[in-house]
Each structure stands twice: as structure tokens, then as C-alpha cells.
């Protein structure tokens, strides 16, 4: 079966393709910024709890390891985005998704040291950081 395509069809196809690309990129970039803001805000509160002597040494060690894993994943995601910006190629979504997973593991460890209000806020924001 041969499908006839007109000039209008091609315009529609490219308009839809462009829109889909634009929208998916917006989600990824906005989600990434939200993710880093959530972690930053929660880490400030954790640091306050740590300096108040509320964090046991064993937990502090686990938190430090989880935070380093997040930093490393953030670095990999950054490199992937830089490469994508320069070449227009590469898988940025997987790298950002890995950073989000690392952030979630870190947040899970520090949630007991956040205020109830902050913990609820962080979990809501993290779920909103909808990295595709």
C-alpha cells in the first residue's frame, strides 16, 4: 500500500515532531533543576541536624557515602548534557535518571532528620521532579 503525502502532511509531521522534542526536553531540564534544588534544600536541613548532634555516627557515614554517589551521578549527568549540547547526540535521559535514583537514596537516609513539614515537602517535590 502506497501512502500519498502532501506538503501539508509533511508540515504537520514536522510540527508534531518539533513540539514533542521541545516538550520532552523541557521536562528533562526542568526536572533536573528541581531535583538539584530539592537535594540542596534537604541537605541544608540535614547539616543543621548534624551540627546539632542529632545524627548517629553510623548513619552519618551512610549519608556521606550516599551523598558522594549523588555527586558522582550528578557529574555524569552534567557531562552527558554537555556532550548532548555540543554534538546533539547521546543518552541524557538515562544519566539524569541515575542521578535521580541516587538523590532518592540519599533523601531516604536523611528524611528522619528533617522536620515533618520539610520531609513531606521534599518527597512531594522529588516526585514532581519528573525526569522522563
Amino acid at each position: 500500500m502506497k501512502i500519498e503525502t502532501s506538503k501539508h502532511d509533511r508540515i504537520v509531521f514536522f510540527a508534531v515532531l518539533l513540539t514533542a522534542t521541545l516538550v520532552s526536553c523541557q521536562g528533562l531540564y526542568t526536572g533536573t533543576v528541581t531535583l538539584t534544588q530539592v537535594v540542596d534544600s534537604a541537605t541544608r536541613e540535614y547539616a543543621h541536624a548534624y551540627n546539632s548532634g542529632l545524627v548517629p555516627a553510623e548513619t552519618a557515614s551512610k549519608v556521606a557515602v550516599a551523598y558522594e554517589a549523588y555527586r558522582k551521578a550528578a557529574g555524569v549527568a552534567r557531562d552527558a548534557l554537555v556532550a548532548y549540547k555540543q554534538t546533539g547526540a547521546g543518552d541524557t535521559s538515562n544519566a539524569v535518571q541515575t542521578a535521580k535514583q541516587a538523590a532518592s537514596q540519599f533523601i531516604d537516609l536523611i528524611v528522619p532528620f528533617l522536620t515533618t513539614e520539610k520531609a513531606s515537602q521534599v518527597k512531594t517535590q522529588l516526585s514532581k521532579a519528573n525526569v522522563p
Binding site: Q26, Y29, A47, K72, A77, L81
Partner: protein
């Protein structure tokens, strides 16, 4: 493709495209540069940096409002 269907798709694509473009222009969403910068800062700031920063603020608050008022 029927003219009605073509018109409907074109209308949807145009409206959706304008919404996305408007969002970009009004800075309600982040760009790739925003995301790169956010990740750079996340990579550079260590947990010790946060702890030191909190300690500094705590020391400043103690000096300013008195130790009995610092929580």
C-alpha cells in the same frame, strides 16, 4: 488524509507548539544550560561544605542574637 482531520491536527500542533514556545520565552521552564549549571553546582558542593556553612551561620546567629535564642 481528510481536510477536516488535517485541520484538526494542524490546530492542535499549532496550539501546543505555541504553548511550549511561550513557556520557554517566559522562563517558566529550565533550559539545557540551567540543567548543566544545576548539576555542576551539585557535583562541586560536598557534604562537608554544607556542614561548614551551617556551622558558620550558627556561629553568626550566636554572636548576633545570643546563644539562648539559637535553635
Amino acid at each position: 488524509m481528510s481536510p477536516e482531520l488535517l485541520t484538526a491536527i494542524l490546530s492542535f500542533a499549532t496550539r501546543f507548539g505555541i504553548d511550549a514556545a511561550t513557556a520557554f520565552l517566559s522562563h517558566r521552564t529550565a533550559s539545557i544550560d540551567d540543567a548543566i549549571e544545576a548539576l555542576r553546582q551539585a557535583k562541586e558542593k560536598s557534604l562537608d561544605d554544607y556542614i561548614r556553612e551551617d556551622a558558620r551561620q550558627r556561629a553568626l546567629a550566636t554572636k548576633t542574637i545570643g546563644p539562648e535564642n539559637v535553635t
